[in-house]
Every structure is written in C-alpha cells, then in structure tokens.
C-alpha cells in the first residue's frame, strides 16, 4: 500500500519559535506509526500539521498525493469524515453535553441520519465505555480519564479510517488506559491507519509498525519499528531511552523494553 499522508519539507514557526524545520516523512496506509521525541520537540505540532489542522509556513502536506490545503470544500468534508483526531487534553466542547459532543460530528457528516439514529449511535458508543449515565453532563463534570475517552469516542464516532492520536494515554488512570489501549488495538485490527504521538512504552511496543523519532523540529530517524529501535544513531537512541524513561527504573535494555510481548502489555 502507498502512503496515506506525506509531509514534504514542512516548516512552521509559532511566534518566534521554529517548531518544524524541514520535515520530510511519510505515513503508510493501513499501518500504525508512533512519533516519539522529547517534550516540546514539535511532535504534537507535527501531528496537527499532518492532520491538516495547522497550515505550515512552507512545504506540502499530501493526502494520498493531493495537497491537503488545496482541497476543494467537498474534498475537505470527505477528508474530515475519514479522519479522527484525539487531542492531548481532550478538547471537548465545554458548552455542549457529552451527548452533543458525540452527536455533532454525526450530524455534520451524515446529515441524512434521523435524530433517533444519531441518539442510538451515540448511546451505543457511550455504553461501550460505561459512560451512558454521563450523557447529559457537561465535560467539566467528567474526570480527566472520562474526558479523554469521550474525546476518543468523538474522534471515532463517524468511523474514520485514518486516526491521529495525541498522547492518548497521558495522565489517566490504569482502568481508562486499558480501555483506550483496547480501543486502539481494535482500530489497528480493523486496518485503520493510525498516527500516534505517545510517551507510553507499552502502547508503543504493542501498537507501532513504524517509528518516527523527532528532535528539535526535525525527523532524526524514521522506518520500520524493528529497524528504528535498533538504530545506531546515538541521538535517536538517547531520545528513545529518555522518552521511554523506564530504562533506569526497570534496569533493562531499550530493546527489551520495546520488545515486550503485546499480550503482556494488555494485562
């Protein structure tokens, strides 16, 4: 399969800070790519640019060969319908209830759906994660984990084939992490293209087909997961160790850390 998304010499300056400095990377169709790097290196910005949420100052973002920022209105609608984005902080719409947060993407992408169909689909999604009792609540009334999982449901409610995940398991408890990890693996099993930014070694080990290591707004290494985790690039290796951050505490090797059995990871 070809590339779902490719970034060609993408540069972006936010204020006085050069966030992306000539990024060239491709994300393969139907595969899961994990972007890793130290905090503040531009991973989330890269993810948002790849998703077409932030236009770059220069360079191109290609969706199956077509420039995302030159798509027609109809093309953009199709792009958003087939894409889902989970934000690091949830980014739920605070002036809407949980139900409305999930219903709005359906109303936008499927204008022909009846009110009762929308209600059924939202109810089914909420039941799946045990949030059906919170449907009428505003996001402010939800816990951090519930907000995160609600953001996940919102991104997936229209059943996208390309999913962007920005730290999907950050700052949530074990139970919620398990639920989200399970949902991500279901997505992967369905053959969705997943592009994730995460510091979670367990998620990385069980999800990544490919790895992209980013540092100071540049791609250091990119390639198949097995190749990248054995990279000879010292800086990339240092970053992987630093990002995964468990080497010292586990007194183990980077390879062992990433080589965990996926089944172990889910238990």
């Amino acid at each position: 399969m070809g590339d779902a998304i490719s970034l060609v010499d993408v540069r972006l300056t936010l204020g006085d800070y050069e966030a992306l400095r000539g990024i060239n990377v491709a994300f393969a169709e139907g595969r899961s790519t994990v972007i890793m790097g130290p905090s503040g290196c531009g991973k989330s910005t890269l993810l948002k640019v790849a998703a077409g949420l932030i236009p770059p100052d220069s360079g191109k973002v290609l969706l199956r060969g077509q420039d995302i920022f030159l798509l027609s209105e109809r093309g953009i609608r199709e792009l958003r319908k087939s894409n889902g984005f989970v934000f690091q902080d949830g980014a739920l719409w605070e002036n809407k209830t949980l139900f409305e947060n999930l219903a709005l993407p359906l109303e936008v992408h499927f204008p022909g759906l009846s009110r009762s169909d929308v209600t059924k689909r939202v109810a089914r999604a909420l039941e799946r994660v045990g949030l059906e009792e919170s449907a009428g609540q505003r996001p402010a009334a939800l816990s951090g984990g519930e907000r995160k999982i609600a953001s996940f449901l919102r991104a997936l409610v229209a059943e996208p084939t390309l999913v962007f995940l920005d730290e999907p398991t950050l700052s949530i408890d074990f139970g919620m992490t398990e639920k989200i990890t399970r949902m991500i693996h279901e997505l992967k099993a369905r053959g969705s293209t997943i592009i994730a930014v995460t510091h979670d070694p367990q998620l990385t080990a069980t999800l990544a087909d490919r790895l992209v290591v980013v540092d100071a707004g540049k791609v250091l290494v990119t390639g198949e997961f097995d190749e990248v985790k054995r990279t000879k690039d010292l800086r990339a290796r240092a970053i992987l160790s630093q990002v995964l951050g468990e080497i010292a505490s586990y007194d183990t090797d980077l390879l062992e850390l990433l080589d965990r059995d996926p089944q172990d990871g889910q238990n």
Partner: protein
C-alpha cells in the same frame, strides 16, 4: 530604529491583511449560511436569546430613564423660550436617531461583545476550535456567522424596542409634570417623525450590530495560546467596538444631513 519601524510596519500590514481576510471569510460564510443546511442554526437561536432577549430588562430601564430625563429637561427649559413645540423634535432626534442606536450598541458591546471574545478566546486556548476543524466544521461558519447574525438581529430589534420604551417612558413622565392625553402625545410624535429618521436608526443599528459582532469574534480568534490573552481580547473587543461605533455613528449622521 529603521529595523524596528520596519518590523512594526510588517506586523501592522500582516494584522490588517488578516483582519481583511477574516471579514471576507465572514461575509462569504454569511451569504452561504442561509443556503446551507446548517447545524449552526441552534447557535444562532441561542445567540439571539442571550444578546436580544436577556438584554430586554436593561434596555427597557435605560430607555425609560433617558426618555424621562429628556421630557423633564425639555419640559422645563423649552417653555422659557416659547419653544414647547420643539419637545417632540428633540425626542425624535435624541432617542430615535442618536441615543437609541448608540446606547443599545454600548449595552450589547458591554454584555455580548465581551462574552463572545472571552468565549472564543477560551475555545482557542483549550483547542476546541481545532476540534471543530478536526470534525469538519468550519469555525467561521459555525461559530462566527451565527454570532454575527444573532448580534446584528438583536441590536436592530433592541434599538426599535429602545425607541418604543424611550418614547413611552417620556410619555409616562410627562403625565407627572404636565399631563398630555395619550392620543395627542403620540399624534404629535407621529407628525414629527419622518421616514428618514426611521431609516437612519435602522441603518445605524445594523452597522453597529455588524461592528460589535465582527470585532468581538475577531478579537476572540486572535487569542493564540495563553489564557492571559483572553481578558486583553475582551478589553479590545469593547474598546474597538465603542470607537468604531462612534465613528460609524458620526459618519451616518453626516450622511443624513447631506
């Protein structure tokens, strides 16, 4: 020095270009709003409820007070110069043509302008705007256009309401000073008011509504990443809104007398 001036000019040029682009986008999406099947219709209804309906009390109170002051002052001063008949002209000029639209605009700027700038600024900081884009919703179409339409419709309706209450208030107070029959009072008002007075008030209220809403949404969207920018956006929404409304008021009044 030259470099600083150059950077300042460059920043200003970018700001104006951004503002023009924003206005063009708002105009385009407003035209398309009525043609599209909109999920944003609910946002429009809520905006009219907040800006228009919830401001009725304060507008009534201010309109009654202004009407009362004019009738008391006019009723006291004008007879001294034998110009009692001018009272109705003054009522029409002050309430209908000048104070009605501008005071309503001030009330709405203070209430809704600040609220819109703050709400949108918060949405930018908490990445809610990006979330709208991620699910295929154009923030201008969904968040700005309903607010522009809602505020403009509300300012126009509230200005008419202000006029009615201002004139009615002056009648109530006139009953305490020098009772005038209801029919006689309103017949005199109707004889004084001209079509161009009504056109003037409608045009002003429309222009003020557009100014208030576009400035507030623009300032809300100008917030980039920090919560400390949000109160600044609200202050700018009020300051720029007031100044632009004053300028527009002067311009329309000048055109009225051309």
């Amino acid at each position: 020095m030259v470099a600083t001036l150059g950077r300042w000019a460059n920043r200003k040029t970018r700001d104006y270009a951004y503002a023009l682009g924003f206005m063009f986008q708002v105009l385009k999406e407003t035209v398309l709003f009525v043609r599209r099947r909109q999920v944003a219709f609910k946002v429009l209804v809520l905006q009219i409820l907040f800006t228009g309906v919830e401001a009725l009390n304060i507008v009534s109170l201010i309109a009654l007070s202004i009407g009362a002051v004019i009738i008391v002052e006019g009723g006291t001063i004008l007879p001294r110069f034998g110009q009692t008949s001018l009272l109705y002209s003054i009522l029409i000029v002050v309430i209908t043509r000048e104070l009605g639209p501008i005071l309503t605009a001030f009330i709405i700027t203070a209430r809704s302008g600040t609220a819109i700038a703050t709400e949108l600024g918060n949405m930018v900081v908490s990445h809610e705007i990006e979330a709208y884009i991620s699910v295929g919703i154009d923030p201008v179409s969904y968040l700005v256009v309903p607010r522009v339409l809602g505020v403009t419709i509300s300012v126009m309706a509230l200005t008419i309401y202000f006029n009615f209450f201002g004139l009615f208030g002056s009648f109530l107070v006139s009953q305490l000073i020098k009772p005038v029959p209801f029919v006689e009072y309103f017949r005199a008002l109707l004889a004084t008011i001209q079509l161009r007075d009504i056109v003037s008030t409608v045009v002003k209220s429309f222009v003020f509504g557009v100014i208030i809403s576009v400035v507030a949404t623009f300032q809300g969207f100008k917030v980039s990443s920090s919560v400390t920018e949000i109160p600044r956006a609200a202050i700018k929404a009020v300051g720029q809104g007031f100044v632009l409304c004053f300028l527009a008021n002067a311009l329309i009044t000048l055109i009225y007398y051309l």
